[in-house]
């Protein structure tokens, strides 16, 4: 095990994970909004936001897929030591972490069952930048219209067409997180 793997976790897990979850909840409930999220110091190349999401949502019951750019010994050790999440292949994953290029094609991920649409994957996509510009978002959680710098639109349009099945997405960059649930209608501008 790499020594760095032991560091960088929550120092006060109940309170830090509570604050992190609130940011994650607001992000998923209000697509297109950016939320600061903090509390952990994951090893590179993970962003703070992605690391905190992993610590807040993953544990021994949530199989995790690491995309190629994240699938390094230090990341594997860090995730395993702090969460115990089993690292698995794409089709078994409940959570997936990586850059958009790592995760493509995204139609490999679990979209849930027609009678249990909640059994779907959550993607955590590491982004080089996050801003309120780009594709137009409408749907639940959005009062009128929102904009978010998505890595592409076609995959999210295809995902919305599967509703109520489909995967849900967090976009992370540095200490910021944005959510894009399957219910959001994405249109290129």
């Amino acid at each position: 095990m790499t020594p760095d793997a032991l560091l960088g976790g929550f120092t006060d897990a109940p309170r830090q994970s509570a604050r992190a979850f609130r940011a994650a909840l607001e992000a998923m409930a209000r697509p297109g909004t950016l939320w600061p999220i903090e509390g952990a110091a994951p090893p590179a190349p993970l962003s703070v936001a992605a690391g905190v999401l992993i610590l807040t949502l993953c544990d021994g019951t949530t199989p995790l897929y690491l995309g190629a750019s994240c699938d390094q010994p230090v990341v594997r050790d860090w995730v395993t030591f702090h969460t115990g999440a089993p690292l698995v292949a794409v089709h078994e994953a409940q959570f997936a972490l990586g850059t958009w290029a790592d995760l493509m094609p995204v139609d490999r991920f679990a979209i849930g069952l027609p009678d249990y649409p909640d059994r779907a994957a959550t993607l955590i996509v590491e982004m080089p930048a996050l801003a309120n510009q780009g594709p137009r978002l409408t749907g639940p959680g959005i009062a009128t219209v929102a904009h978010l710098s998505l890595p592409e639109t076609a995959a999210f349009c295809a995902n919305r067409a599967l509703f109520p099945q489909g995967f849900d997405t967090y976009l992370t960059c540095g200490g910021q997180v944005a959510g894009l649930p399957r219910s959001t209608i994405v249109e290129a501008v």
Partner: protein, 291 residues
Amino acid sequence: MTDQTAYNFAYLDEQTKRMIRRAILKGVAIPGYQVPFASREMPMPYGWGTGGVQVTSACLVPEDRLKVIDQGADDTTNAVSIRRFFQRTAGIEVTEATADATVIQTRHRIPETPLTEGQILVYQVPIPEPLRFLEPRETETRKMHELEDYGLMHVKLYEDISRHGQIATAYDYPVKVEGRYVMDPSPIPKFDNPKLGGNAAIQLFGAGREQRIYALPPYTQAISLDFDDYPFTASKADHACDLCGAPDSYLDEVITDDQGSRMFVCSDTDFCGSRRAAGHIGPMGTPSAGG
């Protein structure tokens, strides 16, 4: 040890909160769909809000101000005990003012004061399945939700009309969420149904005994089921509040003696109290009854 150090923050252990949090996020992503979750035994009986308490526990942060209402009232046994529970186990602040609260746990009402962004409304739900009294088998109701087969619910509402001349369902009135799932709004009066859709706050529903969590994200469409010729109406007692004079709030009827005397008062105690504090007085109110 003080109360705060004797328990984990907000009572539940971290593994349980992660499980509940994952269910809440899936609920938010699929508005109106009931997400199964591994409900825990809580230190209160089923029917006292074990589902709502678990959802609140998973959402609370140390900076929160919590309000708990039971049928609109802040001062009833259920509300007082849940508020005290989180004061002891999470060390958070509590309030009775709707506008000051960041998290509001409710049993059977939506506050009169409009909610804002940044607030979370947590409902205690006894029976989350709107079709349960029409079809007792879970396997069947799950299939009906999957196939969007809600004809039975319309038949039920139609039978109301044929028997009573109107839709007689006065609470627990089903809504259709974003044109997809029919959802049980918990036993709120149908007077509150118009506040479900387009609300600025996040609305989370927890059913402890039935082990389901569901959600309405902000600004989500939730339409009360009706017919073109029998449109939905949000009804209330045809009266104004006897204490604060509010003509537009939901009212409780209170029997005041054994001679049949009665009065109508706001079910939302904070709304009524702040109106009286602002100088509004109803026919039976007294000027000094501020707050």
